[in-house]
Structure formats: structure tokens, C-alpha cells
């Protein structure tokens, strides 16, 4: 199967391990992965902050880059939610862009959805001998309704010990520019999330969104907790004998 990877701007620039791992997992499962080089960003940061006009260039770039692919996969629930849910909002009034969005958006999948719903795979052949807890990010959980897909994928990883995160469904407080516009509330929410993560005694906090992990991880790191944050794709890419 020919699959286009949407690395996301954050994944591309700050956290390349996640898109790299996504490529590894997809290729291991027999997909032919392409990286349309014209891609940039989903435009979510602009849309969500109220800069809808400025989001338009990103949306246009996105539909141009991914037009014509049967499937697009991204290691970010929140960016996929933005594509599926907000691109039409941004295109509002622009008929041509609106049509392009309607063409592309339904073919864009979050990683866990793609693995389970499209490829029909739960066991991706990963090996990760560590204690892991999982944070369901709000946009994966509430906008995409990925449900327990990530948990089922993690449970199928050999030697991985999955521990439940208390109050898992509560928002971590990242919220895009919310973290800058309301830093005190954002940190208060993140601090509770970080406390719950520490309570699990996990070595690794896993999630499907690097943005939320950047926020929670930033707090865990400031607290010198020693807990690593990893994207779901990175864990699924780990294999016996591979380094890490």
C-alpha cells in the first residue's frame, strides 16, 4: 500500500523521532511510504488562536501536497483532527479550497487508526521491555475518538508493562497557544498530570501527540523526574535487538 506521511511541522522540526518511527512501523508492515516534500503544517495553531486568515496558506499547502494519495498518515491526533475537522472551517467561502479539503481530509489518518482500521493490525511486532503509562490526548480521544486503539497496540508490544494513568482523560493543559496565553492555568493542569504520571512509577510516558508530550515532558524534566516521554510510534517501532 502506498502511504503518504504527514510529519507535522512540530514532528519535522522538533521531534523527528516520531515521523521516523512512523516510517519504520509502516514499512515493517509492508507499506510503501512517501514524504511529499511540499508539506508544512496543518494550520491548527493559527486556526485555534483565531488567526483564521493566516491558517489558509497552511491549509492550501496541505491539500496541494497530499492531493492524489489514497492514504495519509500522521503521528499526531491533534493535527489529524485539525485536518478533518477544521480545514473545512478555514476554507469557508473559498469554494475551490473547500472542494480540495473535502477530497483530501477523509483520507488522513492518525497512526493508531491507520494501523488498526486500515491495515487491520494490532501486533506490529514491537519489543519494548519497559514500564509504560499512556496519556490519551484530548483531540485523539474526543475529536477523533480513537478510543482504546493505542492501548491495544501497546498491549500487543512484547515485554511492555502497561500501567494505568490516574485521571487519564483529564486535559494536560497544553492546548496550543493556551500554554502561552494562560501559562499559569496551563502549568497548574500540567503539574497535576505530571504528578499522576509520577504516581504510576512508569519509566516512560507515552502519547500520540508530541505537542502534549512536549508540555508534560517539559514539566517532568524541570522536576528532574527521570521519566522519559515517547511518542506511541517510537514504542511501536522498537524491536528486539534494535538500540534503545
Amino acid at each position: 500500500m502506498r502511504v503518504a506521511l504527514f510529519a507535522t511541522c512540530l514532528g519535522d522540526t522538533m521531534f523527528p523521532a516520531a515521523p521516523k518511527a512512523t516510517v519504520q512501523v509502516l514499512e515493517r508492515l509492508g507499506c510503501e511510504v512517501e514524504f511529499p516534500a511540499a508539506q508544512t503544517c496543518c494550520g491548527q495553531m493559527h486556526t485555534n488562536t483565531g488567526y483564521r486568515k493566516q491558517a489558509k496558506s497552511s491549509v492550501r499547502t496541505f491539500v496541494d501536497a497530499f492531493a492524489g494519495y489514497d492514504a495519509v498518515v500522521a503521528p499526531s491526533g491533534s493535527c489529524v483532527a485539525s485536518v478533518r475537522h477544521q480545514h473545512a472551517m478555514v476554507a469557508d467561502g473559498d469554494r475551490k479550497l473547500g472542494r480540495a479539503v473535502a477530497e483530501v481530509a477523509p483520507r488522513v489518518h492518525e497512526l493508531s487508526e491507520f494501523l488498526m482500521d486500515v491495515l487491520g493490525v494490532t501486533d506490529v511486532g514491537a519489543y519494548f521491555p519497559h514500564r509504560v503509562t499512556y496519556h490519551p490526548t484530548c483531540h485523539s480521544a474526543r475529536l477523533l475518538r480513537v478510543g482504546d486503539r493505542p492501548l491495544r497496540l501497546l498491549r500487543a508490544v512484547r515485554s511492555l508493562e502497561l500501567v494505568e494513568l490516574p485521571a487519564a482523560e483529564q486535559c494536560c493543559g497544553f492546548g496550543g497557544t493556551f500554554a502561552l496565553k494562560n501559562p499559569d492555568v496551563s502549568v497548574a493542569m500540567g503539574a497535576d498530570k505530571a504528578r499522576h504520571v509520577r504516581e504510576t512509577d512508569a519509566e516512560v510516558l507515552c502519547a500520540g501527540d508530541n505537542s502534549c508530550l512536549m508540555h508534560i515532558g517539559g514539566l517532568l524534566s524541570r522536576q528532574r523526574s527521570g521519566i522519559r516521554v515517547m511518542h506511541l510510534a517510537e514504542i511501536l517501532a522498537s524491536a528486539e535487538g534494535a538500540d534503545r
Partner: protein
């Protein structure tokens, strides 16, 4: 009143408040989830609730006229109020006409919104709140911080304090040996209020629903104090937002299931009072409805924003909101706090003040509010919609750095070559700023991130470069 970010910061420093709120909201959250889970047809009920309200709002002119006819036919009088000042004037004049100097009140958001108590006070009329939580707030010279549980920010010990110090100044004092047991506190409130109920000749209420076909008003409450207000006095004045209408009596079937489960996590609320006009020899003999606009037609004019008027004030969205849970209601600077306040208030009041401009941003867009809303108001989408309005109406308003950041980011992200160039700069900066892969402090506005969180340094090699190095620039 400072805007949300600053107000929130102050409230966050109050650890007692955070503790009280976390306890109260988590208890009620769980109760709600349980009783909602009992109904197999919750999704359909919710759809029905949303549909009835949407339909009513789209035909509001018709239903308002029908309501006025029905009220008049039943012996009541309808008054129309464009704004708070007009509504207050109408109520003050009505009370004055009775010759009375005090009124009892059943908890009402509409009268809080127009600050009726203050207007009455200025006219030399005392208004006594009779809802237990409202009484606590009033005696404590405080303002409500929750739609349904106005004193949610207070704990039992604080309430005992307030009762002992304040009740005696305005009526029957609290017993000297008052403890902070809930039953004892309720008893003190009951004794204090009884005197007021038995004396009052005029009552002021709001309404949860107004039925167009019959001209009936409905008040839903837990304590029975509302019922006392609605039945004992000779004159009843109800101040009702025009969005409270439902077309038919039959529609109550839907809302009387949705409301108690969503609000208090009860299957049925303890007291549901309905009244229609006047009945000779039974209850108030003079009845007035003040239909309040106060910004509602502005909201109605906004096709997307309009859905906020479906709200039945159940407060479920407050109780699940992680932002509300940490800041409490006062930080929102509005009688409607929490997620619904953040979308309703800027529509009612406009977005000119600093407080109102900041409200659509007082959310992390986690979406928990939309999930629980019994009339399916898409609060996260509305927040985004209103943020767009704020940005378009007030370019450069609060945060020049944010505007600059957004414009720059938009330019960079509009084209992959520009993004790749920016990534090169970012990767280089890593050598300067991030020795261990994390960044200590960044300049404003990014300092708002790094003050409390480490930030990752940009990757040494972007994904894009890695891909080109390993796979070549194949596809397009």
C-alpha cells in the same frame, strides 16, 4: 476586574479554593456520569433537546408573541426589556407600585446578569436571596462562582463563620452553638429565611423554561425555597431571558430529563414548580413576566454563535472543565463562568473590554464540555469562532508579540522551502541554547513557556533532512 489570565493567576494561588473545587466538581462529575449512563436513549434525548431549542431560536419571534398572548390570557402581564437598565427599571417600578420595601428572591441567573439586587438597593428596596447557596453568597458580601452551586468555592467552616457573623445583622440570627454540620447549617438558614418568607408580599424569580403554547413558567430547584417564593407572596415578578422559551408543554418531557441528570446528577430534581398566570384565591394574585433581551438578539444574529442560547444552565460543562476546576468562577469576570460563560458572555456583552476579549481564550479546547452538554452546544468550535472574531475586530489588541509570532509563523509555514530554511536556523540555534537537548529560558512571549517548563531544543537534524539524506527527494 483583570482579564482572565491575570485573574486566574490570583485564584490559582488560593490552595483552599482549588481543594474545594476539585472535591466538589469530581464528586458531581461522577454522579452525573452514573445517572446519564442509566439511560439508553441519552443520545436521542440530547439530540431532541438540541433540536427543540434550535427550532425555537429560529422562530423566536413567533413563539415570543404566542407566549405573550398566552400569559395575558391567563391574567398575567408581559413586559419587554431591551437591556439591563430597562429590565431593572421595570422591576423597580413594579415593586414600588406595591408600596413594599423588600422582596424575596428565588435563585435567578437573569437577575444576576442585570444586577437587579443592586438596582433594587439603590431604590431603597431590600432583596433577600432564598436559595441556600445564594444566601451564603449574599451574606458573605461575595459573588457567585458557579451557575448551580453559587457558593461552591466555600467550605462548611467558612459558611458557619458567615452565618454567625452576618445573619443577625439582617434578620433572625444563627444559633450561638452553630456547628459546621450540614444539617445544622441548613436549619439555621431555614429559620432565618422563614421569617422573610412569611413577611414578604413581593417575590422575584427567574425561570428555567417558558412554555409558549400555555404561557407557563417552570422553575426547577432542590430546596423548596423557590416554591415558597412562587406561592406565598401576593405579587410575583419573573425575569426571563427570551431564549428560555420552548414551544409546547410536551417539550418539558425532554428537558426535565436532561436537566437534573446533567446538573446535579439526580434522576429527578426535588422541586419542579410551574405556574400560569393567576388563579383567584391561590398563589400570587398579580403576576408579571419581564422578557429580557440584553444582548441575546446579538447572539441570535450570529449563525454559529446562536447555539450558545440553547444552554439550559445545567452547569455540566463547568463541572468537567479542567480550567474551571483550577481557577473557579470568579476569574471569568461574568455571572456565567466556565466554558459556557466563555462563549456566552462575549456574545452578550461584545468583545470590546479586556475581560471579554480574553474569555474565548480561557480554554485549552480539550472538548470535555461538548461531550457532556445536554443540548450539544459545540463549545470548543464556538470558542474558536469567537477567537477569530476577537482577532479580526482587534488586530494587535492584547499581545503584539502574539500577532507578530502568528504572522511570522504563517509566512514560514505557507511554503516548505521557507519552513526548511527556518528549520536550518533553528537547528543551528541548538548549539547556542540547548546543551542538553532542553532550553532554559526564552524571550517573551515564549518565556511564558520556559518560566515553568523546559522546552526541547530543535532537533539536530530535521525529519525532512533525514529523509532527503536517506531516501532522496523522491515524491514531488
Amino acid at each position: 476586574m483583570p482579564a482572565f489570565p491575570q485573574a486566574a493567576k490570583q485564584e490559582l494561588a488560593n490552595s483552599q479554593l482549588r481543594h474545594n473545587l476539585a472535591n466538589a466538581t469530581s464528586t458531581i462529575r461522577h454522579k452525573r456520569a452514573e445517572v446519564v449512563g442509566e439511560l439508553d436513549d441519552w443520545a436521542q434525548l440530547r439530540e431532541a433537546g438540541a433540536a427543540i431549542k434550535s427550532h425555537t431560536l429560529s422562530n423566536l419571534d413567533t413563539y415570543l408573541e404566542r407566549f405573550e398572548e398566552a400569559v395575558t390570557a391567563a391574567g398575567g402581564t408581559v413586559h419587554w426589556a431591551r437591556d439591563a437598565a430597562e429590565a431593572n427599571r421595570i422591576v423597580v417600578d413594579l415593586v414600588r407600585a406595591t408600596g413594599e420595601r423588600e422582596v424575596v428572591k428565588v435563585k435567578s441567573m437573569a437577575t444576576q446578569e442585570i444586577e437587579l439586587n443592586e438596582a433594587l438597593q439603590d431604590a431603597g428596596i431590600d432583596a433577600w436571596e432564598t436559595d441556600l447557596a445564594e444566601l451564603i453568597v449574599q451574606l458573605g458580601h461575595d459573588t457567585p462562582s458557579h451557575i448551580l452551586v453559587p457558593a461552591i468555592h466555600r467550605n462548611r467552616a467558612e459558611i458557619r463563620e458567615i452565618f454567625q457573623q452576618e445573619m443577625g445583622k439582617v434578620g433572625t440570627p444563627a444559633p450561638a452553638d452553630l456547628t459546621d454540620e450540614p444539617a445544622r447549617l441548613a436549619e439555621a438558614a431555614r429559620r432565618h429565611l422563614r421569617e422573610k418568607f412569611l413577611r414578604a408580599k413581593v417575590a422575584v424569580s427567574g425561570a428555567n423554561f417558558a412554555v409558549a403554547e400555555t404561557g407557563s413558567l417552570v422553575v426547577v430547584e432542590s430546596e423548596g425555597n423557590g416554591r415558597m417564593c412562587l406561592t406565598l407572596p401576593e405579587t410575583l415578578i419573573s425575569v426571563v431571558g427570551i431564549e428560555k422559551l420552548v414551544p409546547r408543554w410536551q417539550d418539558l418531557e425532554v428537558f426535565l430529563q436532561l436537566l437534573p441528570r446533567s446538573s446535579t446528577g439526580e434522576r429527578m430534581n426535588p422541586y419542579t414548580s410551574t405556574w400560569t398566570g393567576v388563579t383567584p384565591g391561590d398563589g400570587p394574585q398579580s403576576f408579571h413576566v419581564v422578557l429580557l433581551d440584553n444582548g441575546r438578539t446579538n447572539a441570535l444574529a450570529d449563525e454559529i454563535g446562536r447555539q450558545a442560547l440553547r444552554c439550559i444552565r445545567c452547569s455540566a460543562c463547568l463541572n468537567v472543565c479542567p480550567v474551571y476546576e483550577r481557577t473557579g468562577g470568579h476569574a471569568y469576570g461574568s455571572v456565567y463562568p466556565g466554558p459556557i460563560g466563555a462563549v456566552l458572555t462575549p456574545q452578550l456583552r461584545g468583545t470590546t473590554s479586556e475581560v471579554d476579549k480574553a474569555l474565548p481564550y480561557a480554554s485549552s479546547l480539550c472538548g470535555a464540555c461538548y461531550d457532556v452538554c445536554p443540548v450539544a452546544i459545540n463549545i470548543p468550535d464556538l470558542l474558536v469562532h469567537l477567537r477569530t472574531r476577537v482577532v479580526e475586530e482587534h488586530r494587535g489588541w492584547q499581545s503584539k508579540p502574539m500577532d507578530a509570532l502568528m504572522s511570522m509563523a504563517s509566512w514560514v509555514l505557507g511554503d516548505s522551502r521557507r519552513l526548511a530554511a527556518a528549520q536550518k536556523v533553528a537547528s543551528l540555534s541548538r548549539r547556542v541554547i540547548g546543551r542538553k537537548g532542553t532550553i532554559g529560558r526564552l524571550p517573551p512571549p515564549l518565556s511564558r513557556w520556559t518560566d515553568a517548563r523546559d522546552a526541547p531544543a530543535p532537533a539536530e537534524e530535521t525529519f525532512r533532512t533525514w529523509w532527503e539524506r536517506n531516501r532522496g527527494s523522491d515524491s514531488r
